[in-house]
Symmetry: D3
Subunit: 243 residues, 6 copies
């Protein structure tokens, strides 16, 4: 029983990571997970927020947003509504936490990196694509900061890589990297963020239609770990290529 | 090696569930997980939000908030700031999703229940206490709606119970139901929401200080499932008592 | 002709003042005027707002709010609406002014006390209960600040006590301390704030249904002054008790 | 001992009421209390707010605001700040309540009158000038609505007149109609709103520097009642003049 | 074929510029273009916004607003709506830019002038009246700052005068200084801001109903330049008069 | 004397118009004016805003925004700030007006088209690129609506084409299509919107550093008209290509 787009249950969609997309940002990546396209830019500034000044430690944060017509039906702009929705807040916080898990603040020194993840087109998995792409943009931005001598410690500010993927149970079958149509029908939906060496940074599983048992949880975790491993390889290949 | 408050690693704090706390609300519970105290009220109204009208289905939603001095340092009111913070949004959504996992909308009919979870005093685990207490307030509110004939289906709108607990790894030891001091020091922090029969509704694990491996994840899940099981028993006892 | 709850016209509802309600706040009181319950916490911080720096004088301010289901019908949260309503603003300002009337800023020194008055359950007279309870929380907070040597002047920062009560004319009869049902039917409604020695801090009388004449005003003031006098005695008793 | 501007304690400032100031509004008045100038416009619309529809009753409401440079130091615009301050809210509510005290909603029928009171220049007593002027604008607007047959009841929608004045104690002396310099120095400050026949609609007394006793309260009320009586005569004269 | 108000196509409405309207502001003008009345106040403060500190240069900015009943139908207050509309933003920016075109920041030194332009009554051309009046208020404010020695450079901070007028094509005829009724019917609408010596500061032409060709543009520019020239003369006369 | 990027004064930057960029929107274009890249999507919905219902006429509107790192320095998100800035408002309004100039509302029928113009990378001329690209997206969306029979009139809803370009005077030389570096140094800056047949829809000229005279205005208009003419040809070519 094949999937909507003919993938096997444990198959990722076509993944592309296009570095250097923007001429202005210190790191920038256009990442695609199938038809999901997210523009991730990393902005480096000297200095840190007020509450962190004098600590000798840096800061990394993220903001996620969707263009109004990234989805099938146009959504109102949060700037026009005058407030940020709960979903946007939640995903921005997830991306920030995920990246900070591999940042050595002392090594970074008092510099700030802001990751902007703007979804240009959405087809499921926007938050996992954003994390996966933002890591590469962050790596480029950190390398830039090292070249520019903003990072003065001589140590590597990134302690590892980070990638993320969604998994879910659709019609009783655990599937990797859900597209939008699958996501809508999933009984259970999980987002998993792993380090490049296969440990967990975030595990967020939600019963959409029915509670899930321990065996289902185990199957989903297995799928997700394997998927993140492949994404980590794609990230490494992208970073090794000449930009 | 005992815990700050002399508990064993797999021990809950003293849990109390005081029903009928408010004279106005259709269901109301003051729940305590140790020094964490959350007032949960359930408000029933006939009708549903516009987007659900005519569907024959009900709706359940939740709002979480903290009093300014629920914590050790006073926090600014979100009403004064004019916007709701990401953390508040995230927790409100979590509580709503958790409760909806055991609601049969068709059986509820076109009625809405709003759960307000206001933290009067915080000492770690406010979201898990809120979910655990809100379920009891919801059960009381649904019973009220049945007595008042607002629920006309003759079927039970709740398909089961829901409780939640936090777990975490502190100094390498997996612990159940973290108090604030433990939470601050945790390397990994997880919130788990289970149904009364032990299946998962939400699993949210976060690496605070260091990524966690599969064995640690397994240990945390074991602790959490056992903790939720005990909370479910306390909920049952509270609901069986004469109010 | 007795009242809804069988009180005489000049009788207060049962008043309780429970000190030390919160483990975090420097002063905290759960005050009840019958079924009206307000949690008052006093938060002390060193320093004053920018516009007062270097003056050698302290500052005292208050914020009032209602939990959404404190009333018979659930009210929308002001944090969700993104703005504070006129009634909330008005009452917060009244509480702050009332307390400041007995504060010697010079004696307090450059310290700030914020009083949070959160209505957990409402049955009329929430603002007068809030003022009466907040004074006791303030007294505890000031004593704390003296013990902690934040107050360095060696002088007493509070020049007296403050209590408040509502009065009104219902069916032509002047009544003390209106409950919600009486308040709704009152032709005239007045809130009076007095010092412990019986002088006026605030007098706010409003013709709800019909203008009132000088004789009615006099009768209401007489009732209110006597009521505040009894509340002052209850405050003294509460403060003299070992917490 | 005469006052800053040589008035006797019981003397009003020069009062002018200029009707028909605006070509667009159904009623409009430029009112001056000395250097305090408030533009009051009354806008009539058929229909009432949603919560009042079908009641057969009308509605009257008011909004107060200050131009940024109405005062000696420029104040930020509330539109730019994105929120309305507590003082503005409080005064808008006071004006609305004061006018509603003389409105017969049944006689008005389902029509709405909005009073906009914009302070063009401030020198103390802006809220009392606003109430006094707004009443005249309201009277003109109601007459307009009667001429246009929007008021169909054939009854008079206004049951009386309303005027307001401030009083206060400065250097121990009770004074009528404080200008800004007096207001700043007042130990006690009171705003009194009376009907044309001398009864009270609002009494709002505040101890600014020191609590006040019953004798002082009595003296202030006497002054205010006499002042309102003179303002009522000025209103009558203005309304009797050909516009 | 004469205009609604019997003017010729190239005729301005009656223009009045009343200086010294406000007792508080450093410069203040009530300007009328026919029934359009705008109160322009100029507020001088020492110092400049943070981003300009230490530059030795001053700053001039403007805010435009309409009273709710300045127009035929009452508009909601932007302070109540909690946000500023696009039209208000656009006009505020236009006024600021227009005035800055004749300011020598170096000569002004680190002082800030804020121009508040509040429309008391609107009948078309509010932005052009605002610019024309604001220039005179600015000139008075600068003269005040020179007398007070806030301007220390000994040089003239204003390099010239600025005035503005609207032009448009109505029924195919180019007209100067449109009133509201003409403005509504205009096929093309243009606002032109000129210096006192006839050069352009802003040209903003918009096709309302139909695109316009080069000949029409030329005719409109001719009308506008002549109109601005007459306004400049009226400004000079106003400034030469004893205030 | 050649330009920064070696163009002649009357030369456009390389212009590309990529249709069908988004899989969701009814019309979508990625337009580039050199390094300025704007994603324009057109969203069609049946029905019109409330104020237009029953008129038989359609509506077209536009929203413009910049990604935070579209520019050299990261800008704060307007959604995070909770309000839309004046510049954004102004440009959104300009785009909407420009497109509406070629829309026959009757022919469109009661359908709404929203144009979202999101700047992915900015290098000057973002508003003119947005208008030029949005027209093509609008044309595609209208064609879609005709194919889907949403447009029932059988008449062409677009009465012509619209394109826009910036011109300015840099070092005394009039230049076409300024890039960011030129824009910053321009003494005068003008944006011109023309129909495909060379008439004007908008002319917005601003003296940035010095007022401009009639001869300069003429030179700028000549440049702009010629530039728009070339853009119109590029639009036609794009629309004639198979998507």
């Amino acid at each position: 029983m094949s999937r909507i787009d003919s993938r096997t249950p444990e198959q990722l969609r076509p993944i592309t990571i296009e570095r250097g997309w923007s001429k202005h940002a210190e790191g920038s990546v256009l990442v695609s997970f199938g038809d999901t396209k997210v523009l991730c830019t990393a902005s480096v500034t000297e200095g840190v927020p007020r509450w962190r000044k004098g600590s000798g430690e840096g800061w990394v944060t993220a903001e996620y947003a969707m263009l109004p017509r990234a989805t099938n039906t146009r959504g109102d702009r949060e700037s026009v509504k005058g407030k940020i929705g709960g979903r946007t807040h939640e995903i921005s916080r997830l991306i920030g936490r995920s990246l900070r898990a591999v940042v050595d603040y002392k090594a970074l020194g008092e510099n700030t990196v802001v990751l902007d993840c703007d979804v240009l087109q959405a087809d499921g998995g926007t938050r996992t694509a954003a994390i996966t792409g933002a890591y590469v943009a962050l790596a480029d931005a950190v390398a830039w900061a090292q070249r520019k001598k903003l990072v003065k410690t001589g140590r590597q500010p990134l302690t590892g890589a980070v990638a993320a993927v969604s998994v879910g149970i659709v019609n009783g079958v655990p599937l990797l990297d859900l597209c939008y149509e699958e996501d809508v029908r999933a009984e259970t939906d999980m987002n998993v963020v792993c380090t490049g060496d296969g440990r967990f940074v975030e595990v967020q599983g939600t019963a959409e239609a029915a509670p899930f048992d321990r065996a289902e949880l185990t199957a989903l975790l297995d799928l997700a770990v394997a998927g993140c491993d492949r994404l980590a390889a794609i990230q490494r290949a992208a970073l090794e290529a000449t930009e």
